[in-house]
């Protein structure tokens, strides 16, 4: 089977958090991108886990070709990382805008998947840690007419099915749910899948020599209509948090605890 994993480059969310916590997150002159050039760029964590899900299918004996594809201004680094982890083919869909419209990104990804020989399984992270939107997988599934299963924590091939069928354990607010879906399908992966593997040194070196196949929108002969943005980022800002914390006084843990409980009872928050 052919598995295509969609991966996105993002700013390291932990570094962004640290800047935010220190009150040092700044927006650049364009009014919409973060200025901190020291923040490392890396593969979106959930996407790395989506790739891990594909590799685990292969480890489990599923015969598959794994492709990784990315839309963005400069995707070579994460695509090589995907190759080092075990992707057999890597493809780049260049797009200049640093905050591209995700409808356009999804249209490009869907067209790439169709034109490159279709996929039995399209894997994506549940959302990107920069815009948190999580809509690209759904837009791809609709463009390709495939079913969508979200928030997988485990993916396996269902035993003894007539046609290739996936058995997926998905994380829901009510606990784990097990579903089955026939291929082709789009599946998103959640962090509950667990730690992704690290590439070995040898694979890293081999991946360095791999060049992503570069595919332009013209090459996909997409109608202009599909490439028209629908949701255009105008500006980004750092919201203020209005803090009014009262630090509860107390010399010892017991005093602190009693002072807090007294306040919570006073406010009728607890009995």
């Amino acid at each position: 089977m052919r598995i295509v994993v969609c991966v996105k480059e993002v700013l390291d969310p932990d570094a962004v958090n640290n800047y935010a916590l220190a009150g040092r997150l700044e927006i650049g002159e364009d009014g919409k991108s973060l200025t901190q050039t020291t923040i490392p760029r890396l593969m979106n964590g959930f996407d790395e886990q989506a790739l891990e899900a594909a590799l685990r299918l292969r480890d489990a004996g599923v015969e598959c070709r794994i492709g990784a594809v990315s839309v963005g201004p400069d995707t070579a680094t994460i695509l090589k990382h995907a190759a080092a982890l075990g992707a057999d083919e890597i493809a780049a869909l260049p797009m200049d805008d640093p905050t591209p419209d995700y409808h356009v990104a999804a249209a490009l990804l869907a067209a790439y998947i169709r034109s490159s020989g279709d996929a039995d399984l399209v894997l994506c992270g549940r959302q990107a840690s920069d815009d948190d939107q999580g809509v690209v997988p759904a837009l791809i599934c609709e463009a390709l007419g495939m079913p969508l299963v979200t928030n997988a924590r485990a993916i396996e091939l269902a035993p003894a099915a007539d046609e290739p069928t996936l058995r997926i354990t998905r994380v829901t607010p009510d606990g784990d749910e097990v579903v089955e879906v026939s291929c082709p399908a789009v599946v998103t992966v959640s962090n509950e899948l667990g730690e992704p593997r690290y590439p070995t040194a040898a694979k890293k070196i081999a991946a360095r020599r791999m060049k992503p196949e570069i595919i332009t929108p013209e090459g996909l002969s997409l109608p202009a209509e599909t490439l028209r943005p629908r949701v255009v980022a105008q500006r980004q800002f750092v919201p203020t948090v209005a803090g009014d914390c009262e630090f509860v006084p107390g010399e010892s843990p017991a005093e602190l605890a009693e002072a807090l409980v007294a306040r919570l009872r006073q406010d009728s928050l607890i009995q």
Partner: protein, 327 residues
């Protein structure tokens, strides 16, 4: 010609009420409808909750549109998307608003893809921009930043609102009397492609409904200390939650994760021990009325959100709190 309607979409939850967040979405929708001279409608999929007409009226809706079909009785993504797509084709709404939850995260962007609409998730606001078009504000980086998106270029838009986007406000000047319009749809051809083999079984009460939540994070030091969180939760009559790292480490089950990619809660009291207050965690609890933080670092971000702060070692403070709460 009338402006294209603003539609708030909801469906019945198992409790028989409207989906949590429908009132917030109606509040926002009423503002947009007012600013654009459009009608505000509440769209209900599946069984009509008892409260639907009354709530719609209280929040100033002009109509309740009801799609009744056996296929919509329980949540079923393919049927829901099909019904919504049919509705959008027939009624051409300018904007369909959802309250964001796990189910809407699945349905809203698929609807957009199906009908060629634009979609924005994690919305905190929708307003009329300077040029007269709609714009949506949504949180990004878990809430570290917010993004303002211009909504132009698509015939209609789908926006899902975050749980803590705004507070519900009934319509000024008293309730309206919405008409109830039964919308026909033909879902006979829809067959759910994703087959449920084993249903999720929520065990006991849900964090989303809890009035009091006590959560623990990495500051607990080790899995053996999580019992302090459970004991305090029990002593306060609440439920125990967690930050993501200790879920990822396997100390607690993922159903207890609070945050952007976990449970979105709205308790009266949220007590966080050994949690730093990263935006992605706060996305799941900042709608709490009162937040209490216990952290050994007086500069921890969580104190910016907290009403009460305790600076100290949570392993020492929690046992004392359990004792004090039991008295």
């Amino acid at each position: 010609m009338d402006a294209k309607p603003i539609v708030v979409c909801t469906w019945n939850e198992s409790q028989g009420g409207l989906t949590v967040g429908a009132e917030e979405a109606l509040t926002l929708g009423r503002g947009v409808a007012g600013a654009t001279g459009a009608k505000l409608r509440l769209l209900v999929l599946g069984p009509l909750p008892e409260a639907a007409m009354e709530t719609a009226g209280r929040f100033g809706a002009d109509a309740v549109d009801w799609i009744e079909d056996a296929a919509l009785e329980a949540f079923s993504p393919d049927a829901y998307v099909e019904a919504l797509a049919g509705y959008c084709q027939q009624e051409s709404p300018a904007l369909v608003l959802f309250n964001q939850a796990a189910d809407t995260r699945l349905v809203a962007p698929r609807l957009a893809g199906r009908v060629g609409a634009g979609v924005v998730m994690n919305g905190v606001d929708v307003s009329v921009g300077e040029g007269g078009g709609l714009q949506a504000t949504a949180s990004a980086y878990g809430g570290d930043t917010q993004m303002v998106y211009e909504l132009s270029g698509a015939p209609s838009y789908v926006v899902a609102l975050s749980a803590n986007a705004l507070l519900p406000e009934p319509a000024e000047g008293g309730p309206t009397e919405p008409e109830c319009r039964v919308i026909s749809s033909d879902l006979s051809g829809v067959q759910e492609r994703v087959r449920v083999i084993e249903q999720a079984r929520a065990e006991g009460p849900r964090l989303e409904d809890a009035d009091i939540i006590v959560s623990g994070g990495r500051g607990l030091g080790g899995p053996e200390n999580y019992k302090l969180i459970e004991q305090l939760a029990e002593a306060l009559g609440g439920l125990a939650g967690a930050s993501r790292p200790i879920v990822d480490e396997g100390w607690v089950d993922s159903s207890q994760q609070v945050g952007l990619t976990g449970k979105i809660t709205r308790p009266a009291l949220y007590l966080a021990a050994g949690i730093s207050g990263a935006s992605q965690h706060m996305a799941g609890c900042s709608a709490a009325k009162t937040i209490v933080a216990i952290n050994s670092d007086p500069d921890a971000a969580i104190f910016r959100y907290a009403r009460y702060g305790l600076v100290g070692d949570c392993l020492e403070i929690l046992p004392e709190l359990i004792r004090a709460a039991r008295q």
